[in-house]
Symmetry: C2
Subunit: 336 residues, 2 copies
């Protein structure tokens, strides 16, 4: 229905804002065709992942369009990082509302363009529709990995050490900052946390280096929450896991908040939106892995161990400094 | 938010209804991982396409879930057919509402299962979220085609003949049947038209045979409307086109309606939702192409010619039996 929204027609919109993003991808055919083509290099598998985001649920309706675009792209790139894959490109579906204007679309495309440059990828295809509901977005990301070498969740072994990259809890705390909580926190730390929510850092270089090390037994990215995602690894691998809460790496901002309000611990451990890499490996591989993290510039921390399968009860035990069980009220983000 | 809808948790929902659909796709990893893997056979390009559908816009809210699933899959398979590709599998994103219940999801999955069997494909991955808006769905389909041989829109040459498969207009007329129009039409023909709207027939075998013939200069599927889509070919190829309205193939049901109401012609020629193949080829290839359509069981019809680029005015001229220009009020479906 032309004119039903504040936007130019579909074809003009694609030509103006999205086709330029496909310039580096010959198989995208300038976004003027029914489909795109791509051939992975010989000896490589394709890795595919898809994530959807809806305004009001996965991002705040007044979040800047540029940041929405970059987060959408980055949560998918984080999935590729978890497989040890190198990103190639993406397809995007946008469902715009009657309130979406061309300024929003231009800023959204500018965000995609910025991250395309940062990660060396290009737009390959997509679809643009109108929706009477909230603005919603779906992105399918493509990557490549040496054939048969994609890392998976299901290889954790009893006796393995559990490691995680970066720091945990910043994303969930950042969302609270954006909702005007923690007003006593220093502005620089408020900004740090908000940025961690808005702009995840997909650990692509680390993921590829970990894959190439051949030392990792199981890996995934932390999106639903550290406890829930460690549970996903344990369940897929048929093992149990112990998470040492005091060993979980925290940013200065998160440490400062937690010191004042110890009841933030469950949020930090289960809030999600971290987009760090969670992995398991044999104990004798730990030193090499820690060195690898340091070399890449994304430190790894040892946070727990893989155990025999839990006979009953929780797959993941969370323990405090004294080895006593911690009871976290919630197990992690569920999409509904 | 568990319990926010009538559905079981996300992970249960995937395990019960979607994971079984991935059984034939080893790279889908049982839908328990961050991403899936796939390697096209050596010498083949991957072909990727994505389409989104929203309740109330792209399908009727009370359409049976099984048919919604099959239409979503088939409109994407139709894009693969237009490239001459063989389908392999798909990723699906579902945004369910608070009103979606498990009966709906089970019927939706049953529809996918039926078409997976029919087309020899499997589910590779996806994402499931909740939405406060209307139920919406996004599907990314993967196919393969011999390297460098995917058909495109941009190869039409002045002097080419324009052909189309099957019959045109049934989908748009079928939507009107479902909206309780044409009540005088015989029930068998009403059902035929409604089926053509609900259940497109992606012309996969024909598309692959046309690609293998090496006779086709340009091809796409008819989704936005015959006139608009012929315009897409003409624009991408830098040529003009003449469409002979009287030569457009019609079903018995569409012929019968048009005989009683000649003002249905614009709807038939521009309504879209046809999912037939539209192609151009040199005049001396026409007999071989017509024979190929007959052999496959999906007849082709000659419906026009490709001309020099239009100096001004419309890229596509639509003419009547006497060669006079027809003025169609609308140029085809726009997504907004």
């Amino acid at each position: 229905v032309p004119g039903a929204s504040g936007l130019p027609g579909e074809f003009d919109l694609i030509a103006r804002h999205f086709a330029p993003l496909s310039a580096g991808m010959p198989g995208a055919l300038g976004l003027t065709d029914d489909a795109c083509t791509y051939a992975p290099p010989r000896g490589f598998d394709l890795v595919l992942t898809v994530d959807a985001m809806t305004a009001g649920i996965h991002f705040l309706p007044d979040d800047p369009a540029e940041l929405v675009a970059r987060k959408l792209l980055r949560v998918n790139l984080s999935d590729l990082a978890a497989k040890g894959a190198q990103p190639v490109g993406y397809l995007i579906t946008t469902a715009f509302t009657a309130a979406t204007d061309e300024v929003w679309v231009a800023a959204f495309a500018a965000g995609l363009a910025a991250d395309q440059r940062e990660f060396g990828i290009g737009l390959m295809g997509g679809d643009t529709i109108a929706t009477p509901g909230p603005l919603s977005l779906t992105l399918t990301a493509l990557g490549i990995v040496p054939a048969g070498r994609a890392l998976r969740r299901n290889g954790a072994k009893s006796g393995d050490v559990v490691l995680v990259s970066g720091t945990i809890g910043d994303g969930a705390l950042g969302l609270k900052v954006l909702r005007h909580e923690f007003t006593d926190l220093a502005p620089v730390e408020r900004t740090f946390l908000a940025d961690r929510y808005h702009l995840p850092q997909p650990r692509l270089r680390l993921g590829q280096a970990l894959r190439a090390s051949n030392l990792v037994h199981a890996m995934m990215d932390v999106s639903d929450g550290l406890v829930a995602d460690l549970g996903h690894i344990a369940e897929a691998s048929g093992v149990g896991a112990v998470l040492e809460a005091a060993a979980v790496p925290l940013s200065a901002a998160a440490s400062s908040l937690l010191a004042d309000a110890p009841d933030l611990l469950p949020l930090i451990l289960t809030g999600g939106d971290d987009y760090e890499l969670l992995l398991t490996a044999a104990p004798d591989a730990v030193n090499d892995l820690l060195a690898l993290g340091t070399e890449i510039g994304t430190p790894l921390s040892v946070i727990g161990t893989i155990t025999a399968p839990a006979a009953k009860g929780k797959v993941v035990r969370v323990i405090d400094r004294d080895g006593a069980d911690l009871d976290l009220a919630t197990g992690g983000y569920r999409h509904f």
